[in-house]
Amino acid sequence: MVYGLMALGLSVIYGVVRVVNFAHGEMMTIAMYAVIAMFGAWKIDPFLAVLPVAAAFFALGYLMQSGLINPFITRPEHSQFILMVAVAIIMVNAMLMIFGPSARNVQVDYQLESFEIGLLLVDKARLYAAGVALATSVGLFLFFKRTLVGKAIRACADNHLGARVVGLNVKHLYALTFGLGSACVAVAGCMMILMVEVTPNLGPAYTLLAFVIVIVGGLGSMPGALAGGVLIGVSEALAGLFITPSAKSMVSFGLLILVLLLRPQGLLGKKA
């Protein structure tokens, strides 16, 4: 679910703004460091850090889109690609300078605990994290389905020119969308820090994973991103259990190739 939420952010941004955020994993890494900083300074639990970190990332995303990315919207895709890769590299190096190369994490009491349900042992932190990821995703769905702003954003995604003709402030809506996508990845980062240790170089691996998930689920499809996240997570776990743990990545990339061959638009994506 956390993978799904991370990919959901990427999918939302691409679905509306049509810019692929190649700094997505790096943004999640920054969110993880933000949680570590808050935990170190004030002992704020990662679950309580979700709101302030998500709000800060919403603002960061909004500013990035309106100040940096907007001028590139109409430029060729390779310009957008170089821009986002440059942003990612700057982020990694800034994190290296500020936090150093060492792996860091937070340690909370429930992190090593698990629920015993019959023969099953369910990791507490993972279960809570999945709950938060699910709640955030449902919130985002409701926002896009039920609110006027959400509907306006969907209108922009469906027909950019039409949205401008009817008087929608497209630039503002794009920035809002980028902010929402960034907030999603921030929430995912808050949850992820309970499960993995963070280093500045962690970002590219997560960017790649997010891509695999959204391509499998369907680029631009919100339910597709969530379904892709769950599918990749479960298939990796099963491959590890029944084949060999080293085959986990092989299976997820195998799935990616299969989807690209048989259903290029992704499992829940629409044909262009």
């Binding site: 290296l96 190369p101 060492s102 792996a103 994490n105 340690q107 992190q111 090593l112 605990e113 698990s114 042992l121 990791d123 499960m195 993995v196 240790e197 280093t199 170089n201 962690l202 691996a205 990796e236 776990a237 590890g240 259990l241 060999t244 743990p245 080293s246 986990k248 990545s249």
Partner: protein, 408 residues
């Protein structure tokens, strides 16, 4: 003076100059530039930083001991083998007389090729894959046990541990990182274990995993399912931390974790990150000898430069990295030259008896490999790795199984 007299006089002056001690003093007036390549960032960053401390204390200590000026040229290979190769090239271009590092077999293989092509001596501090010194290289030297030696020493100590604690586990699950080092260790264990008939256990399953893995829950659940008595582990640092946490989460009841010879379990960061959970893990590793004069000098210098750190938490990282620079400086002193060929010839003649690490004198065989490096059985106790075997060097009594174990 006629032409013949002049020639004779010139030859005499030339010969005197060539063999004069002044010449040697002049040659040594320059510094020995040592290119230190370590993984100071990336997955192995913490271990690289630990090794770096062994390098950082070397110049002052070596100046005191040998009167040789050593200049370190530090490079970070970022736990990326391609970067290791380019850093080695660059250090040589920038004038390094000798290369030292890199705490990894894959990186060592890559740097060895560069060193051999460029004809610059390369003294490996830590890397165990046997093929590195089996290639017929002339400029590559290793003062560290090969994976075969590590496993023979490590498995031998496991036998001693079981005898000392009166325990005879019957089964083990073997988990190992799937990098060059891990594969070499796997090969070593497969080759050695069947011959060690005195060991009471057999390996019921072997599970390899990526050292950069962020989640090892599947691997641990698979290992737990074997119901093995203990975990035989060849790991790095980050994965060792993730594994230990996962063992607690999955409530895996076993006798304990024993490494037959790998980093991870004794590292400072392992104890800092895991706290009490780091206790009772056992590593049979190349280690420093607490009883030599050289070790005393290293501990003193460490306290001076790194007052917050203790040698216990850096074990082989500090001792072997320091020794590799010592080997280079000693060769430089004897050869009186920074010429790579002469330095390599001098390294080949090394005979350092008083050393930091456990084992016999540092002497290279024809392949450039030091034989006779030994391991110690080290157990974490109250966050500090303590030697528990061999008895002659023991600082604490062995505890096995660990206190968490519930006999069924």
């Amino acid at each position: 003076m006629n032409r013949r007299d002049f020639n004779k006089a010139a030859a005499a002056v030339g010969a005197a100059a060539a063999f004069s001690p002044l010449n040697r003093a002049f040659a040594q007036a320059q510094k020995l530039k040592v290119g230190v390549i370590l993984p100071r960032s990336g997955v192995q960053g913490l271990i690289g930083q630990s090794c770096q401390m062994g390098a950082d204390i070397a110049p002052a200590l070596i100046k005191d001991m040998l009167g040789v000026d050593v200049e370190l040229m530090n490079a970070d290979w970022e736990t990326n083998i391609d970067v290791a190769r380019t850093r080695a090239e660059r250090l040589i271009q920038e004038g390094a007389h000798v290369l030292v590092g890199p705490f990894d077999s894959g990186a060592a293989s890559a740097i060895a090729q560069v060193a051999e092509q460029r004809g610059v001596p390369f003294v490996i501090n830590i890397a165990a894959a046997p093929p590195i010194t089996e290639q017929g290289y002339k400029f590559v030297f290793r003062n560290f046990p090969t994976a075969i030696d590590l496993t023979v020493n490590g498995l031998g100590l496991i036998g001693e541990l079981f005898r000392a604690t009166n325990v005879a586990p019957r089964t083990a699950v073997f988990m190992h990182v799937n990098d060059t080092f891990g594969q070499a260790m796997r090969g070593g264990i497969s080759a050695t274990l069947p011959r060690l008939t005195q060991l009471p256990f057999k390996i019921v399953e072997t599970i390899s995993y990526d050292p950069a893995a962020k989640d090892l829950s599947v691997e641990v659940s698979k290992a737990k399912a074997t119901k093995a008595d203990f975990l035989l582990l060849v790991c790095r640092l980050n994965d060792a931390i993730i594994l230990r946490r996962e063992i607690v989460k999955q409530r895996w009841n076993m006798m304990g974790i024993i490494s037959p010879g790998s980093p991870g379990l004794y590292e400072d960061q392992y104890a800092k990150t895991l706290g009490k959970l780091s206790d009772y893990a056992i590593s049979n590793n190349p280690w420093y000898n607490p009883k030599t004069r050289m070790t005393a000098a290293v501990i003193k210098q460490l306290a001076k430069q790194f007052p917050k750190d203790r040698i216990n938490n850096h074990g082989a990282n500090i001792s072997y990295t320091f020794e590799s620079i010592l080997i280079a400086a000693d060769a430089y002193k004897r050869s009186g030259s920074t010429n790579p060929k002469q330095l390599a010839d001098a390294i080949r003649q090394t005979n350092i008896v008083d050393r930091v690490s456990l084992g016999g004198p540092i002497k290279f065989n024809a392949k450039g490999q030091v034989e006779g490096n030994l391991s110690a059985c080290v157990q974490n106790r109250d966050g500090t790795p303590r030697v528990i075997l061999p008895e002659s060097a023991a600082e604490a009594k062995p505890v096995f199984p660990w206190p968490d174990y519930k006999r069924s």
